[in-house]
């Protein structure tokens, strides 16, 4: 390891703000600096600011001196507003074409509020726009409540700095001075930053590129012409540490600090938890290979029966959604054409026709006269995408019994879901808590990988598992999908929702959550993976309004067929 690298890795570079140390970096100060840096060098893209509306956010935004004019945009902004286009209203009123510039062309800097609602298309276009030279910097204010929410990665990847203001109190902030010098990073600085990025497991090369520019901008702000150690520290803290996928292990530092250093503050909570739990309990766990699960043929009939009773939603049958793009046509509605809808020419003509005499159009000469209110938009009804959430019991009891078979069953179901182009999410529960192993995705490879990696062992926090699955379902519904939950468990719940080892309360909590799931209509099916069918699970399935199926030893395809029958039809 080079001295530069060792210097780069000293703990002060990576320290989390939660640590009680005298010169702890203050998130508010970091946010202020991040904004000052992008104001000084807009090629840094911008800042991903995780903050709810409140005093902390206000103080930071007030102290910031962003390039004017500052424009606020919202995820529902249309492409025409963003990138410019023809001013249709002005064109109709004056009879001449009026081009209108978009927000991106006019703004000195852009603030994207409610960035967590930003959809993939807008994120990709924004990312492209801000990556262009001389583009305004973008401050994405992410008000996400859950770790699973947030702006798409395609956007955050192009924002140099990630700052989390969650739970930070507001206070007075000194306004940042403008840059007094122009600094460039030396070859050695670049080497240091790239090496630190590698040690932190930051795969993308865009991040170290940002860090290099950030260090140079920070030096400029401080009035230096060369990058100093402090500038590198700041660049690492703001641009690299939040993207870290692993906590670096540095011999010298571990000797100083007996405890494992906490992961950088902005790290994905899911990732750090996985790493920690698997480290602590690796011994007690058994990594079981997935093997084909077997179910009797009569399960088909059982589930088909459930379906006939109307408790299950049909396959690929997501809830209906009105869309401006595709699906079954619905009657047209007045509105403005844009990203949200296409103009229905015929209906527009029809709306304008009766008014022609009054307006002096039509046969009177001069062509038809249209007004804004004549415009009609096409509407379609669209089936929503379905999300199948697998909640898998990874507890010790389940692992001893049938975990391998349960995994086999999930894999078979996955291939069906793949064929139906459903999305898939994975929730695993064991020990004291449940964990979203995989947020909704269409990637079969990822699902398989995560499932294979899932370790067995510990108690059965069935309630937590259902709660996690419910949370994923709620978010998916908010994102326009139709979620269904498939639970695989042996039903021997022995950990309550708060992590206490209490069988009675564990069962009560699980039943409560099952009712909540049932009430929301997310129930798919419950598969009993125990050695013997567990009677309590029948009640649970009934509360969830889901089909119940024990997983006995039988033919491999029956499982997937059964689930397909239950979810599909």
């Amino acid at each position: 390891m080079t001295p530069a690298l060792r210097r780069g890795l000293s703990v002060r570079f990576l320290r989390s703000s939660a640590e009680p140390m005298d010169d702890t970096p203050d998130p508010l100060d970091d946010a202020r600096l991040a904004l000052a840096l992008v104001a000084a060098d807009p090629s840094l893209g911008g800042v991903w600011l995780k903050a709810r509306v409140g005093p902390a956010l206000n103080t930071v935004m007030d102290a910031a001196d962003l390039p004017a004019p500052v424009r606020r945009i919202h995820p529902s902004i249309t492409d025409e507003q963003l990138f410019g286009g023809i001013d249709l209203e002005a064109a109709l009123a004056t009879g001449a074409l009026r081009q209108r510039e978009g927000v991106i062309a006019r703004a000195g800097s852009i603030i994207l509020t409610m960035a967590e609602r930003c959809e993939a298309g807008l994120a990709a276009r924004l990312a492209g726009a801000i990556s262009a030279p001389d583009a305004p910097p973008l401050i994405a204010i992410d008000e996400a409540a859950d770790p699973g929410e947030g702006p798409p990665e395609s956007l955050t990847e192009c924002l140099a700095f990630h700052v989390d203001l969650t739970g930070v109190a507001g206070r007075e902030l000194e306004p940042t001075e403008a840059a007094t010098a122009v600094a460039t990073a030396s070859g050695e600085d670049i080497e240091t930053l790239v090496k630190i990025a590698a040690v932190l497991g930051v795969n993308s090369l865009r991040a170290p590129t940002f860090a290099v520019r950030a260090a140079a901008a920070a030096a400029g702000l401080a009035g230096r012409t060369a990058v100093a150690e402090d500038d590198i520290a700041l660049a690492v803290r703001l641009a690299l540490a939040p993207r870290a996928t692993r906590t670096p292990v540095v011999e010298e530092e571990t000797a100083e600090k007996p405890d494992t250093p906490p992961p950088p503050q902005d790290q994905e909570p899911g990732d750090s938890e996985t790493a920690q739990t698997s480290d602590q309990t690796a011994d007690a766990e058994s990594l079981t290979e997935a093997e084909a699960a077997l179910l009797p043929d009569d399960l088909l009939a059982l589930m088909a029966g459930r379906r006939l009773r109307g408790t299950l939603t049909g396959a690929g049958v997501g809830q209906k959604q009105v869309s401006g793009q595709r699906g079954r046509p619905l009657p047209s509605r007045p509105g403005r054409p844009g990203a949200a809808g296409r103009l229905d020419m015929l209906a527009t003509l029809r709306a304008a026709a009766p008014m022609q005499r009054l307006r002096g159009g039509g046969d009177g000469g001069g062509g038809l006269k249209f007004r804004k209110e004549d415009l009609r938009l096409r509407r379609y009804q669209n089936r929503r995408e379905r999300l199948v959430i697998f909640a898998v019991d990874l507890s010790g009891s389940a692992a001893r019994a049938r975990l391998a078979e349960a995994k086999g069953a999930v894999e078979l179901m996955l291939s069906r879901a793949y064929e139906d182009r459903d999305q898939i999410a994975l929730v695993g529960f064991r020990g004291k808590t449940a964990e979203v192993l995989l947020p909704p995705t269409r990637s079969l490879v990822m699902t398989k990988k995560r499932l294979a990696e899932a370790m067995g062992g510990g108690g059965t926090p069935l309630a937590s598992g259902l709660a996690a699955a419910f949370g994923v379902a709620e978010r998916a519904k908010g994102a326009g999908m139709t979620p269904q939950i498939v639970t695989l468990t042996d039903g021997r719940a022995n950990v309550a929702l708060d992590g206490a080892g209490d069988r009675t309360r564990a069962a009560e909590d699980a039943l409560k959550l099952a009712r909540a799931i049932g009430a929301s209509g997310y129930g798919g099916c419950v598969i009993d993976t125990g050695r013997r069918p567990e009677p309590k699970l029948t009640d649970l399935a009934a509360a969830m309004d889901a089909a119940y199926a024990p997983l006995p030893h039988a033919s491999p395809n029956a499982v997937s067929a059964a689930v397909t029958a239950a979810l599909a039809g």
Binding site: E119, P133, G187, I190, N203, S204, Q325, Y418
Partner: protein
């Protein structure tokens, strides 16, 4: 967009991706490249660099479809002149969430409303004619746009039957898609439509990574100086592509080379004959690029992974690396 592109020859590593893109420039019938890899691996940089590297084409001035001759200009075009001008090879971005109108083209609403004329406003497919159509995050593209692209890519012609319009125009383009496989898979139908497929990853070698960031930083700080530094190498590469393009059709493929292609595809159980064709064309482009006069096993081996890895009969539950399977097959067949 007038932004200056990063020089193609200054891209560190990523040989397979660069080679695949060069092959499509040498022989456009190879039919597109799919680039899969994580973010920040230089996918977009490579495409933009390619646009700057490619030689200019001659097109009729003012023709929205970049027609080569005045006779090729579609009859609905009223803006085309008689003059022919040199334009850069078009590389058109298809943004995620683009509407069908923008892709296919649609009724020019403004002219319809203001002048009462039925005029066609060409879309991205027209602009991409004789060039490249680049789709970033292709795996997140809406299904109905994908269907549409498949249809046009196959026929080379965009037929518009909508909004009271009925017209057609040529749309022969090389589809380049990039995406991150962890965010979703591509439908097999679209997968097959890409001639070549490459996987890219960030270099794991620390010195290579440092070189990438250094070059990028130098480019961002002073693009003009950086471009000047690499102009010579880009020009050499451009000349090599032009030379190879001129003689690619003269490269001989012997019976045994054809047999090798067929044997390889059979061994891998790739569906259809598209695999053999693409493999042969890519191998021929490689031969032309390296200055060889006939296709040898060396060229076929180089082209095997990009041409075949996405065509293996897929078992959704088997995720053995496709590249590994191709390599294994190459060594088994060629001994």
């Amino acid at each position: 967009m007038s932004r200056q592109a990063f020089p193609f020859s200054a891209i560190v590593g990523q040989e397979e991706m660069k080679r695949a893109l060069i092959w499509t420039a040498i022989d456009p019938t190879i039919g597109g490249v799919l680039i899969f890899g994580d973010r920040g691996t230089g996918k977009s940089t490579a495409i933009r660099a390619l646009a700057a590297l490619l030689p200019v084409i001659t097109a009729v001035e003012g023709c929205p479809c970049n027609s080569a001759k005045p006779a090729d200009v579609p009859d609905w075009v009223d803006t085309a002149g008689a003059k022919r001008v040199a334009i850069p090879t078009p590389v058109v971005d298809l943004p995620l969430g683009a509407t069908e109108e923008r892709v296919v083209g649609a009724l020019d609403i403004e002219r319809a409303m203001l002048k009462g004329e039925t005029r066609f406003q060409p879309g991205l497919l027209a602009r991409a004619n004789r060039g490249y159509l680049y789709i970033d995050e292709v795996n997140l593209l809406d299904d109905h746009i994908v269907d549409l692209l498949l249809d046009v890519a196959q026929t080379g012609e965009n037929v518009v039957e909508r909004d009271g319009l009925s017209l057609r125009h040529p749309a022969r383009f090389i589809l380049v898609g990039s995406g991150n496989p962890e965010e979703g898979e591509l439908r097999p139908q679209l997968l097959d439509r890409f001639g070549l497929s490459v996987d890219v990853a960030s270099p794991t070698d620390i010195d290579a990574r440092i070189e990438v960031v250094k070059r990028r930083d130098a480019f961002d700080r002073n693009p003009a100086k950086f471009l000047k530094k690499w102009a010579r190498e880009d020009a050499d590469l451009r000349d090599a592509v032009v030379t190879a393009k001129a003689k690619v059709n003269k490269v001989k493929a012997s019976k045994s080379a054809l047999g090798d292609c067929a044997a390889l595809c059979l061994h891998l159980g790739s569906d259809g004959l598209r695999g053999e064709l693409t493999l042969l064309r890519a191998a021929r482009a490689e031969a032309a690029f390296t200055g060889a006069s006939s296709v040898t096993r060396k060229h076929i081996s180089a082209a095997a992974a990009p041409a075949l890895r996405h065509r293996l009969r897929r078992d959704p539950l088997d995720d053995t690396g496709a590249a590994t399977r191709v390599e294994r097959a190459v060594s088994e067949v060629f001994g």
